[in-house]
């Protein structure tokens, strides 16, 4: 077993023993969703109109919340040093870490989102679009987020900096993800938006690991 | 000259406020952009000169 697969396995075990790691984003997701009817308007018609956007914004923020810890522990306890010492490609390692991150943040969000969307009175036709847009979109959030997390891993109180660095990069995904759900809800075609998300996923899967690998090396020079 | 009088030039139809506000802010930003590196440079020179004086003093004492 190579170090990459061993690391994936190890991180999944750690997540299983630290349920907070994947439960916190979910709780956050639920809480943000609950805020909108309370703060704006609980009228079902109004909720169903904003549901697509709100669910997507909440999912994005929940992912952001979980990103800060992505590389921090590995930098601080010397794990990163061992990755580099092993001679295995940091590119593969970055992909592995992102995969684990998606498994414990994006995947649960995708699975739970349709349930919570019920509370937001999402139109019936939009559930498939919600599920597929999140399925394609959340891995991109993890990939782009990993760049920011790697860049700020060595910075004390890097959480706010991470949001500043990452949020502008998230805009296209938010726009297309939310619009796919919205258009499905009013009975329009949404394959185009999903197509955009899919192609963006391919691009970011090939390119971001380079940036993550480069950024991780910066944390070694300390 | 497009305008007939100076007062008209200042008034810019009904849009004088917006136009002059824009040009004023722009002037401020440009001036700030020019002054910032000049001040930065001055500070750098003063700071390094002070360091050099201290080094010289330490060298003569030792």
């Amino acid at each position: 077993m190579s170090l990459v697969t061993a690391t994936i396995k190890r991180d999944l075990i750690i997540a299983a023993r630290n349920p907070g790691e994947w439960l916190n984003p979910l709780m956050f997701f639920l809480m943000v969703l609950a805020l909108f009817p309370l703060a704006v308007d609980p009228d079902p018609k109004f909720l169903s109109k904003i549901a697509a956007g709100v669910v997507w914004v909440a999912a994005l923020l929940a992912t952001l919340l979980s990103l800060d810890a992505l590389f921090k522990a590995d930098v601080e306890d010397g794990t990163l040093e061992q990755w580099l010492a092993s001679g295995e490609s940091l590119y593969a390692m970055a992909l592995g870490k992102v995969f684990v991150h998606w498994c414990i943040s994006g995947l649960p969000l995708t699975l739970v989102a349709p349930l919570l969307a019920l509370m937001m009175n999402l139109p019936d036709d939009a559930y498939a679009a919600l599920f597929f847009s999140l399925l394609l979109g959340t891995p991109i959030l993890s990939l782009l987020g990993a760049v920011g997390a790697a860049l700020t891993a060595g910075v004390r109180s890097g959480g706010l900096l991470l949001s500043l660095v990452i949020l502008p990069l998230y805009i296209p995904i938010l726009i297309f993800g939310a619009s796919a759900v919205y258009h499905a809800g009013i009975g329009m075609e949404y394959a185009g938006q999903l197509g955009f998300l899919a192609s963006f996923l391919c691009i970011s899967m090939t390119l971001t690991p380079f940036a993550v690998a480069g950024a991780l090396k910066l944390n070694l020079s300390r | 000259m497009f305008f007939d009088s100076f007062a008209e030039f200042i008034a810019m139809g009904k849009h004088g406020f917006y136009v002059w506000l824009c040009y004023g802010i722009t002037a401020l930003v440009i001036i700030a952009n020019i002054l910032a590196p000049i001040r930065q440079r001055k500070k750098l020179f003063e700071q390094q000169a002070r360091l050099q004086r201290r080094e010289k003093k330490n060298a003569s004492e030792a």
Partner: protein, 250 residues
């Protein structure tokens, strides 16, 4: 030709050479910049005719458009300089990138604020989620991200590298962001009046605009020179040529 370029490249890598040559070049940028800006402003404010639709508020174009063009160009330049630093380890490139960031951010801020002020007489509100303004706002966030990241890093080397990586990631993203924002905008507001109409612009209106664009570019170059010179002095402060320079100043 190729040889000459190569020689220039290697000399550009030498901070001392840059510091000396830039002192001689600086007036050749600064003076034309001032001339262009003054001529362009006077022409644009006093001599160009008013727009038949927007009236005199249209004169804001003479700063809004050049600032917007430069804000985007500056980001690309910063990212390319960062890339040169990452690939060829040329320190000068990192210093140029660090010098560009605050200048680009301030032009971006200018484009935003003039756009908002222009919006009031044109649309009736200070802020409209127009495609150009929105993508300008996101560009400003990108600048802030790069600057904050550079500041947060502990050593000169890591801050330069981190800034370079982030600005390259941002550069790849800018077209995607722009495209998505424009698409989103046409979807939600099909009939907005655009701030700037590219196609039909009278000659008397266009010429001062071109003069202003040239002026802004020259100003930008001047500011980069000034800031990069400071970066050179700071990073080379322990070298003997800088020490001599500082001694001579007193």
């Amino acid at each position: 030709m190729w040889e000459a370029l190569k020689r220039l490249y290697h000399r550009m890598g030498s901070p001392k050479w840059f510091y000396e040559i830039s002192a001689r070049w600086l007036p050749w940028f600064a003076i034309p910049a001032a001339l262009c800006l003054i001529v362009g402003t006077v022409w644009g404010l006093a001599f160009a005719p008013a727009d038949y639709q927007q009236g005199n508020s249209f004169r804001i174009i003479y700063i809004h458009v050049p600032a917007a063009i430069l804000a985007q160009g500056a980001y690309a330049m910063m990212a390319i300089a960062g890339g040169i630093f990452l690939i060829w380890r040329m320190k000068m490139a990192a210093w140029v990138a660090a010098a560009i960031a605050p200048i680009g951010a301030s032009f971006c801020f200018l484009a935003l604020i003039t756009g908002a002020i222009w919006g009031k007489p044109t649309w009736g509100t200070w802020w409209v989620w127009d495609a150009r303004l929105t993508s300008m706002l996101l560009l400003l966030f990108l600048y802030f991200g790069v600057m904050a990241l550079q500041k947060a890093m502990e050593t000169d080397d890591t801050s330069a590298k981190a800034g370079a990586i982030l600005s390259l990631v941002g550069l790849v993203n800018i077209p995607i962001i722009k495209y998505s924002v424009e698409w989103w905008n046409t979807l939600h507001q099909p009939a907005t009046l655009k701030l700037t109409e590219e196609s039909t612009m009278a000659m008397e209106m266009l010429i001062p605009l071109l003069i202003m664009i040239v002026g802004f570019y020259l100003l930008f170059a001047t500011l980069i020179f000034m800031r990069t010179r400071n970066e050179v002095l700071w990073h080379e402060r322990k070298k003997s040529w800088v020490k001599k320079l500082i001694e001579a100043e007193k």
